[in-house]
Amino acid sequence: MLPEVEQYFRIEKLPHMWCPGCGNGIVLHSLINAISGLGLDQDKTTIVSGIGCASRAAGYLDFDTLHTTHGRALAFATGIKFSKPELNTFVLMGDGDCTAIGGNHLIHAARRNINLTALVFNNNIYGMTGGQYSPMTPNAKRATTAFYGNIDRSFDLMELAKGAGATYVARATTYHTELLTKLIMEAHKNKGFSLVEVVTACPTAYGRYNKLGKPADMLKAQKENAVNIKSLKDGIVPEGKFLIGELYRAEAPEYIDQYLQAATKLREKGGK
């Protein structure tokens, strides 16, 4: 057993329930590497997730873990973090969870710039319910509710989070595990709302319908289609490729800081 797995997993719950080749396990590995790298106190770290395959992650990790309702993870996490700001709070969500039903909580967490680290497992599909298209399913791809190909446009999650006010946005894939670890660490260090999108393979509910091959083929495609922003020339992303790396960073006051500072100031002035 890998020592980091032994340390941060509820190992008695392994093997996890994910399909063979599902990328979710890879993401978790990077996450715990990041937590380990950051040296976070395991007792002061909490994992909040929504509902979906990705969100089952919470159950496997050995922290205080909260598996909430579909789409609402960030709202629950807001309550936790605001109530006990010393808790390191990671919020794990599927692409549907975060951007479909949970879209409003995403933009408001970003607007407030509350100090949460959000990880979006983007497998481009509703995995748990068997493969309906999500707001992150690319146009023309097939899904069980898009038999003839998806006509919906998908979000650019980076643009959305940025437009809403996030102060750190990054993207990696499950192929780029070391980058992913690094980005999660950076995200967590950012004092404010940080979002890391992880492109991850769902061989069962997305790969199969779209004839994307075996899990390894899907990983290879991640390797081939991802372009590190640092290596980008002229800011133009080649057709069919996508950027990875630290995509956006900004400075802005953090929500809880603002609240506590203002409240302290008031009390120093003698209240009321």
């Binding site: 329930m17 748990m128 069962t204 509910a205």
Partner: protein, 189 residues
């Protein structure tokens, strides 16, 4: 035929058991029978079912699930262990001997057949193990007619795979026939 059959197809997700159940049920309809097919799911919709059940009979079918299993197909160890328990003395159990190593000693006739191996080696594709199993099951029990089973199968399989599936079915039928003549079944009363 007035008897009503309660058939349980069990194994792990991805073995095509639900599809097998549907085909069996549709064969039942082609035979002019009434049918109900049910299944049980994993924690959410994700992943395949581990159990599909078919009840086939001439009249109205009230309770849709299997209560007294007449025919059990078990394609893995877990389901074999779990579902052979409550078999009756006249039940038939078909067990994939290529995947199940410990065959419990149980009531009823037990036919250990190397279904997955047959699919891989005789038919050339492990994927059609479910069809081989169906062939064996019907060959051994007659819950539906072979003709209806074949018709139901053809109506369901993707174009271009008819031959493969027919071969799988025949392989199942053949295995059944051999098993019956070999009389290698366990009979524990």
């Amino acid at each position: 035929m007035t008897k009503s059959w309660e058939v349980r197809l069990s194994g792990s997700g991805g073995q095509g058991l639900i599809l097998a159940g549907i085909i069996l049920a549709e064969a039942g309809i082609l035979d002019g029978q009434n049918v109900v097919q049910t299944q049980s799911y994993g924690p959410e919709a994700r992943g395949g079912a581990s159990k599909a059940e078919v009840v086939i009979g001439p009249g109205d079918i009230d309770y849709p699930k299997v209560l007294d299993c007449d025919v059990l197909l078990a394609l893995n160890q877990e389901s074999c262990t779990k579902f052979t328990d409550d078999l009756k003395s006249d039940s038939v159990a078909i067990i994939d001997s290529s995947l199940v190593s410990q065959i419990p000693s149980v009531n009823g006739k037990v036919y250990p057949l190397p279904i997955t191996k047959l699919a891989r080696e005789e038919v050339g594709k492990e994927l059609v193990a479910n069809v081989v199993a169906l062939g064996a099951l019907v060959g051994l029990t007659g819950v539906v007619s072979r003709e209806s089973l074949s018709n139901a199968l053809m109506a369901r399989v993707p174009k271009g795979t008819e031959e493969l599936n027919t071969k799988a079915l025949e392989t199942g039928f053949k295995a059944a026939k051999e098993a019956r003549t070999r009389k290698t079944t366990q009979q524990v009363s």
